[in-house]
Amino acid sequence: MSALYGLRVLDLADERGAFCTKLLADMGADTIRIEPPGGDRIREAGPFIKDIPDPEGSLCFWYHNTSKRGITLNLENIKGQEIFRKLASTADVIVESFPPGYLEKLGLDYEELKKINPRLIMTSITDFGQTGPYKNYKSCDIVASALGGQMYVCGDRDTPPLKPYGEQAYLVSSLFGAIGTMLALHRRHLCSEGQHVDVSMHECIAGVIEHVNVRYLYEQVTAQRQGTLHWNNAFRIFPCKDGYILLSLFQQWDTLVEWLESEGMAADLKDEKWRDHQLRLEEIDHVIQVLEQWTLKHTMTELMEQGQAMHFPWAAVNSVEELMDNVQLSERGFFVEVSHTKSNASFEYPGAPYKSSESPYRILRRAPLIGEHNEQVFGEELGFSEAEIAALLSAGII
């Protein structure tokens, strides 16, 4: 059985927290996504199936909302707020990403909700957190990547700073949010009380930049961009016959030189003096030049397979297509089929981020349609009659 089975999560989050609630839902929590009547703005995110914009066809929405149920509810309406309070009294966790102060205006902030449900945990994933001089500032994926110190070190010396692909700021903040939620759940087992989890996207990015803060705090070094050369010069990307390959530059030097030499491509690197690690670091441009002549004679697959056979941590620079053809991933069943009744088809999704032997993480079903579970939640679970639901619907409350 899934680990979070029996737990109820209310999902009010936008793109900042959608992946957080997906993680909780895929772990088995009954996660109810609450959208404004007519559907959420995050359904406008592309790409769309067949490239036709459609709130039910956003692939970005599909992926980040698996295993959730979906209802519509107008939180800015007094009756809507009353219904939300009812739901909150049945919930274990609320995940939200509104600007700080918004829920308070609606009377739905954590302090208020905790009065009706002391066990409630609220996780807020916001641009800058609930406090501090920037708390009312606006952010988004690229602004978080910039302010968090990530963009400055990505890219080349002569290019602008480069944002890593995908909306990583939202995803990594969601991950921290999910961990914070689980920490609060653990603590709740001990004292039966919920708490507020405050996650700042700005800090999340500043917390996943490996060397950047470390080198500044210990060596007063301000890390710079250096193209494909890894920050510690351990790796670099080289062009080859049919694409690009990531090579480690300094591991098992003698083996590497022997290999190049066997193909007559080692140039002067076979000189004894290059066995000095320090010299190689100082003259790295020369080492790179010789290696590049060699990689251009080979394919990605040749270099990766032969390199890995000799325990070099090398890798082909894959496209998404090559990732999906990866034999390791298919052998392990990483990609899973998710069926979409509306399109009458199944599509491959990335599955579990890890394999647990007892409480499997799994996608239970596709993302919900707009208001798909209104009847189930408002009728069967909250006990509204058909007539009441119809009235709520025509009043624009659900």
């Binding site: 680990a3 692939l59 970005c60 406090t131 920037y134 606006k138 690229i142 990547s145 910039a146 302010l147 968090g148 110190g149 400055y152 070190v153 990505c154 080349d156 602008p160 480069l162 944002k163 692909y165 995908g166 991950l175 949010g177 689980m182 920490l183 653990h186 603590r187 708490q195 996650v199 700042s200 700005h202 500043a206 917390g207 490996e210 060397h211 950047v212 803060n213 705090l217 301000t222 890390a223 890894h230 790796f235 990307i237 690009y244 890798a315 082909a316 620079v317 894959n318 998404v320 990866n326 034999v327 390791q328 052998e331 990483f334 999704y349 990335p350 981020p353 890890y354 394999k355 647990s356």
Partner: protein, 394 residues
């Protein structure tokens, strides 16, 4: 009883970043994490007084234990017997070679939770691949995609995937604890860093599996949500930049107001979001005409005051002075036994009642031998001296 994973003991066989980042989260919330190191088997880069080691191993205890000796392996098992969780991030053959794999350890401690983090996972034809963060990023597609349009791949230049794997690993352990509370059972978690990283590329993967489109690099352009202007704009000063993102009509109006309504803002080619998007290259040049006369701090602050998302492309020096990070105590200082006062990033997770606590610096090699071997395992003086002279604690 005020800490979340308090009362839990973790035996930590991890090294470099991915594994230590996972166990650091457990340690920050009160779990007793015992890091096992050895002068003999310690991989390069695990130097206890380096900034790197200190950053990812704070709040942990450290013992020296030589696992190439059979007695070392027996002692590791005694520790597992009194622990809840084991975490390791070697290539799959290492724990097996020591005789410390899950099938053996579960006999020692039946409700053990064990997390193995490796590049490719414990099964499959590529399980023995040698992989670091950069390797995983290349295989996952994020390196290929992190580039300017039509240009060769640049990638991230640092081991982002290790952070991602560490976060997923911590999440998996917390999930397994939740399960153990209900069922009384432990479990084994097989984390492939490639799979963990790939779950952060879900939309690109769906675009391929649904539409057959192979995602291509977009540089600093938005991918899922339309916005213009959007990107990093050159500002006054050496290598100074400010990111700006204008999504809504309201934000565009505010943006034009801040710029003082130059004539081009009224031109037809920029009148709607879709027009601006069509003419984004021209728009970018005009925006940069404005930003390059100003410091990035000024651009950020006047745009933010007007309600437009903007942020300095901060470098490490900027981060250390960032008023928002300071006001939220993002950086934490602590006393180290030999390095004096050291600093590191705290935690982006702020729990209202049970915040992370930063009680001690990372251990020196074998710093907690006494506590672990004498107090926890109750070894006698003669046992200690026997193991010491046999090089088991080396």
């Amino acid at each position: 009883m005020d800490k979340a994973p308090q009362g839990l003991r973790v035996i930590d066989f991890t090294w470099v970043l991915a594994g230590p980042f996972a166990t650091r989260i457990l340690a920050d919330w009160g779990a007793e994490v015992i890091k096992i190191q050895s002068k003999v088997t310690m991989p390069e880069g695990e130097q206890n007084t380096s900034g790197y080691f200190n950053t990812w191993n704070r709040n942990k205890l450290g013992i020296a234990l030589n696992l190439s000796k059979p007695q070392g392996v027996e002692i590791a098992k005694r520790l597992v017997d009194i622990s809840d969780i084991v975490v390791e991030n070697f290539t799959p053959r290492v724990m097996r070679n020591w005789g410390l794999d899950y099938d053996i350890l579960r006999k020692v401690k039946p409700d053990l939770i064990m997390l193995s983090m490796s590049g490719m996972g414990q099964t499959g034809p590529m399980r023995d691949c040698t992989a670091f963060g950069a390797t995983i990023q290349a295989l996952s597609g994020i390196t290929h995609l992190t580039a300017f349009p039509g240009q060769p791949p640049l990638g991230l230049g640092y081991s982002y995937a290790d952070h991602v794997a560490g976060l997923m690993g911590a999440l998996a352990v917390l999930e397994a604890l939740e399960d153990r509370r209900k069922t009384g059972k432990g479990q084994y978690i097989d984390l492939s860093e490639l799979e963990a990283m790939s779950t952060l590329l879900g939309t690109a993967i769906l675009d391929y599996s649904v539409n057959g489109r192979i995602a291509s690099p977009v540089g600093n352009r938005p991918i899922h949500r339309l916005a213009a202007p959007y990107g990093a704009y050159r500002c006054k000063g050496e290598d100074r930049w400010c990111a700006i993102a204008v999504f809504t009509e309201e934000e565009w109006v505010a943006f034009c107001r801040v710029l003082g309504y130059p004539l081009w803002t009224k031109e037809e080619r920029f009148s709607t979001l879709s027009d601006r998007w069509q003419n984004i290259d021209q728009l970018d040049l005009l925006v940069e005409e404005w930003t390059k006369e100003r410091s990035p701090e000024e651009v950020m602050s006047i745009l933010q005051e007007a309600g437009v998302a903007a942020g300095v492309v901060q470098n490490a020096t900027d981060l250390s002075r960032d008023p928002q990070l300071q006001s939220r105590d993002f950086f934490v200082g602590i006393e180290h036994p030999t390095l004096g006062k050291i600093s590191f990033d705290g935690s982006p997770i702020k729990l209202s009642d049970t915040p992370a606590q930063f009680k001690r610096a990372a251990p020196l090699l074998g710093q907690d031998n006494d506590y672990v071997y004498r107090e926890l395992l109750g070894m006698s003086e003669s046992e200690i001296s026997e193991y010491t002279s046999a090089g088991v604690f080396g």
